[in-house]
């Protein structure tokens, strides 16, 4: 065996001391020199904040506290492990519910106990090889240099290494989809499918249809895929996303329900199911899923006080104040001295006290709520702002409520899902169509600004177009359409202006902002590709 572990930092996460020692001894046989051990999930996370490990061997079952999957989820979410890190989940057996539990956080390997040094060696070696092979491409993707990533991918494909071929084709198709080159993406997936019926290739074809707005075709592909592969969870995720885009919430709920049945451990799916069922008025399903989210949240990085208040709100809806207050009490216990949690609880208490006929208490809570929300300022999430507006309406403070709503509508005018949330909130308190006029006029205003900006841009008056959008951005800071337009103008500007450091920085800042407000990966991919092209050209010219 080659000494592949020398110089590599390795973390063993295992609660059972004898097993930990057995693994450590195996690693020493393989000539490992830097080994850190953790006996539970929290200690594992702490170790990862201090050291950037090359290899993590993490037991799935870690007793009370986080399990191995949750450790991985948190490490990925908090970016505690790099692209190069090999994360191996060690388990007594590889059960379906364990494997299915993962969503975006798949480990590189599952290794079942017991295993010996040779087996461990083979697994690590295979993954090291794969990571090293794809490292260049991953680095370019991380940098946003998609043009280069595609070039590198093509180059490696031409070398025709059979062992890496499928990995590369998959990457190639994903990159093509990301930069909007759907024809290439489709071709690659179809080429793969001719050889073998692989679920991820079929999923890829469905995603391309989705990105092109062919939702019915996408649905047909996802449904057929799930028919043949009922355990392929990403299929459920995409199918439900497509239904959501089409605002078919009943269908969405049904698909999520199936996925949650298969994989009850996934907190994000539970949350999604809870919210969807809640919107659909299926309170029993919503209650069960919110409860699951609260329980799973205990050891998850996706723990959120919003899950508690959503559950409490559900009880408030059915006039079950006792249960609602109990949930809020649990939340305060779980989130000691957390201003957002306190604000959420207080906002809901306004309604609960009012319903109980305690006007004075309701008013006290309203005052407390307003003070807290002022203290939090920009950090109040949009769903909580909506709740605050609701409580203001309920306690006869319509001016306050309007002020909040106007801000929300302006900022989120291109988020149709959230606009529907606003409408639902208003209908819920008998204010049907209350903000419709404002929504429509804001939409018109946005379209007008947009048209004007595009016209200016087409006339070559970039400066004026930019100024216009910048002004609009001060009113609608997170508006996706405006950010995309500003990006387009900046990129165009860069094409004409050589090596303008200032403009380069502005483009980079806008890309960051675009990612923050969650602009669709694919829309951004096209622009990023353009940007990497520009940078490349600039570099070549600088050399010449």
């Amino acid at each position: 065996m080659k000494p592949i572990l020398a110089g590599k930092s390795i973390l063993i996460v295992e609660d059972y001391p004898a097993m930990r020692k057995a693994i450590r001894d195996m690693l020493y046989i393989l000539e490992a020199d830097t080994i850190v051990e953790a006996d539970n999930g929290v200690n594992a996370i702490n170790a990862m904040t201090k050291t950037s490990f090359d290899i993590v061997l993490c037991d799935y079952n870690l007793g009370n506290g986080k399990n191995g999957q949750q450790v991985l989820e948190e490490a990925r979410y908090r970016k505690l492990i790099g692209q190069h890190c090999i994360f191996i989940i060690v388990a007594a057996e590889q059960t379906a519910s364990m494997v299915l539990g993962a969503m975006d956080s798949k480990p590189d390997e599952y290794l079942t106990k017991p295993f010996n040094a040779q087996q461990l060696f083979a697994r690590i070696e295979r993954n090291l090889r794969r990571k090293q092979f794809l490292q260049g491409i991953e680095k370019e993707i991380e940098r946003g240099n998609l043009f280069q990533a595609i070039q590198d991918c093509e180059q490696l494909l031409a070398a025709n290494d059979q062992k890496m071929r499928t990995h590369l084709l998959k990457k190639r198709a994903e990159l093509a989809t990301l930069v909007g080159d759907f024809e290439t993406g489709r071709q690659v997936y179809q080429q793969i499918l001719q050889e073998r019926d692989l679920p991820w290739a079929r999923l890829g074809l469905g995603i391309i249809e989705y990105q092109q707005g062919n939702f019915d075709t996408a649905i047909a592909i996802f449904e057929a895929l799930l028919q043949d592969n009922p355990l392929f969870l990403e299929g459920y995720d995409w199918l439900s996303k497509t239904y959501e885009t089409q605002d078919k919430l009943q269908d969405m709920q049904q698909v999520l329900n199936q996925a949650v049945d298969l994989s009850p451990q996934s907190i994000l799916r539970q949350k999604k199911l809870a919210e969807t069922a809640d919107k659909n008025g299926n309170l029993a399903i919503a209650e069960k899923a919110y409860k699951a989210a609260v329980t799973l949240g205990k050891h998850s990085v996706h723990k959120s006080c919003g899950d508690f208040t959503n559950l409490a709100k559900l009880y408030a809806k059915t006039n079950d104040s006792e249960h609602a207050l109990k949930v809020l009490k649990e939340m305060r216990h779980e989130y000691l001295n957390n201003p957002e949690a306190e604000l959420r609880a207080t906002t809901l208490e306004v309604e609960l006290h009012k319903k109980a006929g305690n006007e004075q208490l309701a008013d006290d809570c309203l005052k407390k709520m307003l003070t807290l929300s002022q203290q939090l300022g920009n950090e109040v999430p949009k769903d909580l702002q909506l709740d605050i507006a609701r409580s203001c309406f309920l306690q006869n403070q319509p001016e306050r409520a309007e002020e909040i709503l106007n801000g929300l509508i302006k900022t989120h005018i291109d988020d149709d899902g959230f606009l529907n949330d606003i409408r639902r909130m208003q209908s819920g308190i008998g204010l049907e169509n209350h903000s419709e006029a404002l929504i429509q006029s804001t939409k018109r205003e946005l379209v007008a600004i947009n048209n004007k900006g595009v016209t200016l841009y087409k006339q070559g008056r970039y400066g004026e177009a930019m100024a216009l959008f910048e002004k609009a951005m001060s009113v609608m800071p997170d508006n996706k359409t405006i950010i995309i337009n500003m990006l387009k103008i900046t990129l165009h500007d860069l094409k004409n202006a050589d090596h303008d450091q200032q403009k380069l920085l502005r483009a980079q800042k806008l890309f960051k902002k675009a990612r923050q407000v969650g602009i669709d990966k694919q829309k951004l991919g096209i622009l990023q590709m353009e940007f990497s092209n520009l940078l490349r050209k600039n570099k070549l010219e600088a050399k010449a």
């Binding site: 004898a18 057995a22 195996m26 057996e93 059960t95 017991p114």
Partner: protein
């Protein structure tokens, strides 16, 4: 919870417990192998063999239970066929050394296999384990592409399969002699795992005969 609902939980947690113990046990055995004098090594390897056997039986029990209650599914990905063979041989390494069996591997570096790695490696390990018990001193493991399948062959130089096994339908449990030892349970397990591997209209299967190039039994696993 009903009676039927408790058993799977007990089974799973018991298996988890035993596996932890087995892991520790095997770790200790490996340590002993390194530190003991030559005359003790055979005993230690025997220990390792027994621990491995327990593990295999346990895995089979669990997988068969899951298949039976329709809670089993494969985790399919692409792997080098050579990795699968190496994994299967690694699992049996101590035993192969104990019996001084020479293992020859014929497999191209570039041959790729779509399969559930864990299940197929275990299944192959199972056959290797079996083959070396009956082999005199040599095994040959080979892989080739054949008619849209990947064909794994394990051949030995023993006396060959008994008549009743050669005539049995390996995927039919009632066709196997469960009571009188040498049950072919391992073969039944491998056939079940093979059958779960599908690509378009093809399913995996196993075939056994006594046409080994080494003069004994020949086992073939076909994966689509």
């Amino acid at each position: 919870m009903s009676g039927g609902g408790v058993f799977p939980t007990i089974l799973a947690s018991t298996v988890h417990d035993i596996k932890n113990s087995l892991g520790t046990l095997l770790g200790l055995i490996q340590q002993l192998t390194l530190s003991q004098s030559a005359d003790q090594v055979d005993n230690i390897r025997q220990l390792e063999f027994e621990a491995n056997r327990i593990n295999h039986s346990l895995m089979q029990l669990l997988v068969m239970y899951r298949i039976d209650s329709q809670k089993f599914s494969l985790v399919i990905d692409e792997y080098p066929a050579l990795d699968l063979i190496n994994e299967a041989v690694s699992q049996q390494d101590g035993l192969l050394q104990l019996n001084r069996t020479v293992v020859k591997v014929e497999c191209g570096e570039d041959l790729m296999c779509y399969c559930d790695y864990q299940q197929v490696a275990n299944a192959l390990g199972n056959i290797v384990n079996n083959a070396q018990r009956y082999a005199r001193n040599a095994l040959c493991i080979s892989v080739e592409k054949l008619d849209g399948y990947l064909k794994f062959c394990i051949e030995d130089d023993g006396v060959g399969y008994p008549e009743h096994l050669l005539n049995a339908n390996l995927s039919d449990p009632s066709d196997l002699d469960w009571v009188n030892g040498n049950t072919g349970l391992g073969l039944y397990f491998v056939a079940a795992i093979a059958g779960l591997h599908k690509n378009r209209d093809k399913s995996g299967f196993v075939r056994i005969d006594n046409h080994s190039r080494l003069g004994g039994a020949r086992f073939c696993l076909f994966l689509p």
